[in-house]
Symmetry: none
Subunit: 190 residues, 4 copies
DNA sequence: CATGAATGAGAGTTCATTCAT
DNA sequence: TATGAATGAACTCTCATTCAT
């Protein structure tokens, strides 16, 4: 029941965050939207900026879980990349720019290590995929797994957010295809 | 002379911005650093947030100019990519995190098109390089020039910023090398 | 209790207003005088200028209530006019220039209708008196009740304020007498 | 020629004053409208608030001059009152509320004596008319000339401004008639 | 746990005035 | 005389945070 309040606050914040930026949201807005009292916010969050990491972690968690499920039966790295791109586009669509807002929110408050901590499980997940791909001989050995994972994540994220910030949905398939080609050329054997 | 004041303000702001991030800087700090009066700021900028695009434009301009010079005698696209990466790392080092702060500043202010307008000349520059590379048969035809340029820019920018935000300078050469490999695999013929 | 804060603010404002005039008062002064925090002001008033109508309404309310009481047993219109003039002088004395300051405050803010809304009950009150006087044959039929009421109010207000702004209290009885004569000649049968 | 600049400033100020209130006009607006430089303002006016009395004096001067002309051939006080009312309505219409804005402008800056000094010639003018009327036996002796003049001026001014602030021009003739009746009953013998 | 009135430091912005040219 | 860039004190309003209930 009390957990309900926290959940209410987080989802209210997610909603508002997606609509405005972090600096344009007041705690007051969040609690109003959540239907709780001003003071209640501080029962669950040390401060306003402590809210961001929690949201970011939740988003990453969702993405990770979805991808884990979808990839469970897939064998070829090439197919895995397709699925990762597809799911990223889907999740990103529902949270238009939310992640990049979280990012800048954290960057602003100089808590970048926090950001890395949050991203860590996802990065590990991608690294495992690439490592497996290397073992299978599908993924090139030319690039270190860690760097490859990082670049892959960045590129997918940047592209999905950019595409979704543009209102033009017709571009999505084309951009997705370009991304796919780019990534596979970079990562997979010819 | 009056242009001097504006210049003073911009460079003071650039300096502070690189250290603190947009939301942590007060107009007061900027003018103090610039050695001008509070009101003078508003003679040249409509508001605090109107400052960001101007700075961003200047940075992109600098980067563009440097790269244009360095590339003037270079023929092979592969070499061009090397140089672009190198100069990006250099410029990015002197403005630690500035670009991403600009980015978040703009994203927050919903001035996405402004941002694109500012970035446009640089994107065109990269596109021309890729187009030339295609004509020479060095760059793959598999990826549309526009998308390729965008992804290339994003990836370089993201990597440089990430690397420089980490204080560990020893990683730089390795990450640079990884990026180089990644990009060339993606863009060039084998 | 929370209503207390608002009351404190209003009476602090009334006090300062009577001394200084609206444009010369800082919100800071008001809250200091009221013994509340700066932010508390904005809990109860949307802005500084939103304060004026509330004060004006209160003053009119006070005046109306006092006059209603004093007139309850009075029969002749002539006597009523005397009492209205007397009470107006008294109330006006304790709020030197306050009403005209309210007026200019409102005029400046183009909220004329707001001003009329506030004055409405008082005007109705005076109209009823004149109407009754007409029925009794004491008040002339030559002037429409609405216009007569308006002119009567304006004249009394203008005179009281003018007299009180002059520091010379010795003039009061004479001016009062002049006003009385003027009004009765205009309104009553010979 | 240099007098031109001052004239330009005054008439720009009059125009803006009529549209907005005194507190809403910036020196900057005035000089822009007048087509002169910021500094030029201070060649002709000690400060912003020194502008108001000059404007007020000009307005009163105009009114006085017009009325003097129109009344030169008129004999009966009753007719004079008619003409005074008519001309006041006309002048007031072209300067919607300007006088009352001047008034509050001065009231705000505690320069009430200034205000009286400006009004003095007009008051004298009205007093002379009433005095003459008394000599002729047309004006009642019951009211002191000074008080009568003051009340007459106030009432006319208040009424014209009130009527003109209301956008409804159809009411004008009726209100004028009411005012005429009111004043004559108060001042003239039956 | 929950509330929400109260807080108050602090920031952005304005604008009358000045002064070197 | 005329200019207009520069000034900087002053003021309103915001909003994260607290705490008595």
């Amino acid at each position: 029941m009390s957990q309900t309040k926290k959940t209410q606050i987080i989802s209210a914040a997610k909603q508002l965050l997606a609509e405005h930026g972090i600096e344009n949201i007041k705690v007051n807005d969040i609690v109003k939207q959540a239907g709780v009292a001003q003071g209640t916010f501080y029962l669950y969050f040390r401060s306003k900026s402590a809210l961001i990491p929690e949201i970011a972690a939740e988003l990453i968690g969702e993405l990770l879980q979805i991808q884990r499920e979808k990839l469970s039966q897939v064998v070829r790295t090439s197919d895995k990349i397709d699925i990762i791109i597809d799911t990223s586009f889907e999740v990103s669509r529902s949270y238009r720019g939310l992640l990049s807002l979280c990012y800048s929110g954290l960057a602003i408050n100089d808590e970048l290590s926090e950001w890395e901590r949050i991203y860590e499980p996802y990065k590990t997940f991608i690294e495992e995929i690439l490592e497996a791909g290397k073992a299978e001989g599908e993924v090139t050995q030319q690039i270190a797994t860690s760097s490859a994972a990082q670049m892959m994540i960045s590129l997918i994220e940047e592209t999905t957010e950019r595409v979704h910030l543009h209102e033009d949905e017709t571009e999505v398939p084309h951009e997705k295809e370009q991304l796919r080609t780019f990534l596979k050329r970079a990562l997979l054997h010819v």
